[in-house]
Symmetry: C2
Subunit: 288 residues, 2 copies
């Protein structure tokens, strides 16, 4: 039985690996992209086997109808650490409105299985909701919209809460992605004290969690609906993580620790709650 | 001491009465309106004493700076009972994005007192969050955005949860507002069985709750920050409510009870949780 996936965010980091993993696992994969999405940057294994639908050219209800997915994987997101006032429209339209329209299109087509990504930053202090930044608030706002479709249309949902991810071909402006480049260029990087604890999972492990969640829903295992964390289960300091990364790559990274202050609302200890999706465990444990 | 209010939704039903009440209570009242807002429909007491700012002509940060409010009252909302797909953009931009931009403008101007309206329909079944409709979900989504400004900017917030309201000059398409008109025209109205329980508060009592909440915040009584309900404290069936309304007005309303089925997700019993704002009680008890 070959399941059909419809994915958003396939041109992003975790979404790209998820699309690749789904294809490798035998799923038929369709992707919703924007006219501005850089599909050309996708690995050929994804690019050549995914059916792309341009949301700027075709209504979402028609896309969902044409793709006829068993499961919709929603990983598209607009990320900003510290928002500017000018970003509020884009932040909410990307992280709340687009996903709501996708859910509405699913309801119109009686598509009921939904896997999507939340952020550990929705839990600044403990298990309750407290957002680190406006990005995290917009993710919680979307959770509120999802709840309507669960209640009114019997949507089956698995929510996967992402912490930090790393891996090859990371085009995001993330520390582990830029350090090797800076080292190769001989440039130094000024960072904070590095005592903040972090929780990194390899992107391929994260992608496997999304795929597994989709499989459960496609198999009708609705008892597994709910929230899970894509977490290593422990933390290390950022400084220790970079030291291990140096060992792993056999490179010295030119970091000036303590040269910058910690950010306002720096997350010194990531959320330690949540539960792991049954059947998922990490394969990549070289960093933590 | 004359406090300064900045209000949204002043051309709406509860917002209009709140603006009027604030003015009568000695507040200096400014209002954020849209180019399309019907300010001409406001009662002269409001229209002539409120300073209007057009959000389509002036950035919100400048409006908040110019109005220099002690308290911002956010009552603007876009209401739809059963949304159409085409309404999703307007629903979210009105109920989530606009309010978020308002909060951001407050943060930029160090304005920290915020009173706003939630909906009892965010509690379809019990105290937890479960939205009756997508409108209620969008209100909960806004709650999630507010939480960020409370946490990051020490915003002081009083949330007032509205049930049903009634009173003179109600231009909303609500049962108690249209019944007298239909009766005068000799038209009959087909309704559901009327056994759904309802909780109505007179709009002047509701307006007084908003004003009182603002006074508390302006006085620095931050211990009162939190959520309160604008509830009569009990319920009656819709059929009984209409009977009492007939008695009150001395009119027979031409209603065909049971001629229509109950709506999908009809609220048969409104939320019975929450607490009343200290110091507030109803004056109008003629209907329930």
């Amino acid at each position: 039985m070959k399941y059909r996936a419809l994915i958003t965010g396939a041109t992003g980091f975790v979404g790209g690996y998820t699309a690749e993993y789904l294809h490798a696992a035998g799923w038929h994969v369709s992707a919703i992209v924007r006219s501005t999405s850089r599909c050309d940057l996708l690995p050929p294994t994804v690019r050549d086997h995914v059916q792309f639908y341009d949301a700027d050219q075709m209504p979402l209800s028609e896309i969902v109808g044409a793709a006829a997915p068993d499961v919709v994987f929603h990983l598209a997101t607009y990320y900003t650490t510290v928002h500017s006032p000018e970003e509020i429209d884009t932040l909410i339209s990307s992280n709340v409105t687009f996903g709501t329209k996708l859910l509405d299109a699913m309801a119109q087509n009686s598509v009921r299985n939904f896997v999507y990504a939340r952020s550990s930053w929705q839990h600044y202090h403990g298990d309750g909701y407290e957002p680190v930044n406006l990005y995290a608030a917009s993710k919680e706002a979307f959770d509120a919209m999802v709840r309507f479709y669960e209640s009114a249309y019997d949507l089956h949902t698995i929510r996967l809460t992402l912490f930090d991810t790393y891996g090859e071909n990371d085009r995001r402006n993330k520390l582990l992605a830029v350090l090797p480049t800076l080292a190769a260029q001989g440039k130094r990087l000024a960072l904070s004290g590095g005592e903040q604890q972090v929780d990194f999972v390899h992107v391929k492990d994260a992608a496997r969690a999304f795929c597994l969640a989709g499989e459960y829903l496609a198999q009708g295992r609705t008892e597994l609906c709910g929230s899970y964390v894509i977490s290593s289960g422990h933390t290390v300091s950022l400084r220790e993580l970079v030291r291990r990364y140096e060992d792993l790559l056999g490179v010295d990274f030119p970091v000036d620790w303590g040269a910058k202050p910690y950010r306002a609302r720096e997350v010194m200890m990531p959320w330690r709650g949540g539960r792991i999706l049954p059947g998922w465990e990490r394969t990549y444990k070289e960093l933590m």
